[in-house]
Amino acid sequence: MLETKDLTKKYGEFTALNSLNLSIRAGDIFCLLGANGAGKSTTINLFLNFIEPTTGKAFVNGLDVEKNPKKTKQYLSYIPENLQLYQDMTGLENLRFFCGLQGGNQSREELEALLIKSGLQKDFISKRVNAYSKGMRQKVGVALARAKSAKILLLDEPTSGLDPKASNEFSELLLEMKEQGVAILMATHDLFRAKDTGTHIGIMKQGVLVDNMTSSQVTFQDLEQKYLEHMHN
């Protein structure tokens, strides 16, 4: 579903991403760990075609992102660290707007059901987003991914700043989507969440994927130790 081939991004002399080779299949949750500036967000931005790669290729559902920017976005849904919706619109209106942009014509009941399924409390559905917490906004993001029937979910530190309950709820939503065959790439600093939710874990350092492991093969302690080793080296 998601693949990179020697994907590199340079800003002048600075290499933000260095020859990344990655493959994420349907039903995988690939968690990218790494310090700030390690290249996690750059990878996501390259899949979104927000930035141009210096060399290499990124593929979404087998399609070259650069050559098919519109088509590849049909398969994707993106939830950034701090998902910002239109503040003067309700959660339902935001969802209807973004679905409408994709050509969706779901009824009000269907959209409400999606929001509720994604964990948004019913009495918040028709409230303006400026009254929402970050967790609530993320849930609207998940509802959007569901409404769009996205095959791939790109998450850029989605649980950062969420309280443990909200973070846990979000993880459960991801696991639910994973079961539905959605391929998920999540950039995060949260080792616990990565181990708990991810099927695969990658550690990035200075633009290089320095470790790539299957989650079930490592314990949380092993993961923490590996992560710290990479960070200190």
Partner: protein
Amino acid sequence: MKHQIFFIARKELRSILRQNSLKVLFTFVIVLLGFALYAGHISYKQQKSMIETAQKERRVEWLGQGNKHPHIAAHYGTYIFKPKTLLSLFDFGLDTYTGTSIYLEAHFPHDFMFRPVQGYGNIVRFGELSAALVLQLLLPLLIIFITFQTFTKEKEKGTLKLLASQGVSMKIVYLGKVLAYTLVVFTITIPFFIGLYLIGVNNNNDLVLTDLGLRTFLLFLVYSVYLWVFTSFSVWVSLQSSSARSSLLTLLIFWIVTGIIIPKTSANLGETIYPIPSMKMFKEDIQNDIANGMNANDTKDKRIERLKQRYLKEYRVDSIHQLPINFSGIQMQEGEEYSNKVHDFHNAKLYKKFKLQNRAGSFMSFIAPYIAVRNLSMAFSATDWYSFNDFQEKTSDYRRHLIRTMNNDMAMNSKYGEFYEYKAGRNLWETIADFKYTIPKATMNLKYYWIELVSLSIWVLIMFILIPSSFKNKLD
């Protein structure tokens, strides 16, 4: 793509409607325009009634002046009042400066009198508050206030990134936003121009303006294009700006430079490049040419002598006393004709300079679209220089006809040396028909404004083709 543009436009409209500050601003502009329309209507009715009454009184005075010598009647003269149209109250144009009435008399082509600007203070330098001024300068200011953060806010909040992640290109977002704000502007301008037309149609029964519908439509078209250009430009600036502050600053600078500084500078520039003589010099030159001849060696006396010899020869007599016609009448008309020739010559020179000055100003519309819409608005409201010039020419023709009729009557019906003995009466006064004026069709005026039309077209082209195609969809 189309449905995405409409979705974005609908979302923008909803956001605008939910902002109380914008609602207040809109209400303010709508009330201002409504007031301008209402005040214009009231003022139009009052002025039209006053002008018609005054014109009728002058006609009655002319016809009822009693029996007198035609030359005394030519000096008694009459007044002509510039007819008002509703459009002239939509856009005052040069009416404030050109005067409202003219006194017609033998020998002296008088200037127009009662210029409204004479009664104003310095504030008129900033332009009187007319509906046209609201549309030309205040509505663009409102557009700036509603659009300056349309993109910067989305960039700052991160919603633009979310839109981009949905596969929506910046071009689509831009077009959607422009569509929304254009619709907002149209909700102001369409009812306004419909109102203007309806009031005009219900009051325009004197055939001064025979193409009100076409003129109102052209005004609507020109303002729509101008406001669309301004809206597109404002949205584009917001897209290009890194912050709301810099966007607002850029747009306000653009508004001040193109709406105030360049128009004032271009007027000064035109005057500097093509200077015109002072009024004193202009009149002295005319008087000098009349007295001494346009060739500087053809004095009035020489011209009279030549005329005398011509008539003596033509009638084969030795003395002007023997002529079957009154030579004084012939001489006076000849003096008028020569004076007209001199005036026409000097006016033509002056008008050529005015045209060059206007043209210099028109070229500035390529950098300031306000100049294009200001000039076209005056043209379609028949308050521009060319319209005034046409009215002036028609009054001049009427004056010449009046004087010629008086002089001819004197020549044909009185004897040389008689003055107070001969008296003409109402029969002669009635041969001078009342002055009727019809404003030339708007299409006749268009030829003078090709620069403004080309300039607006180029602005549209830039906004419509170049800007949307210059978008990058990359965020780095």
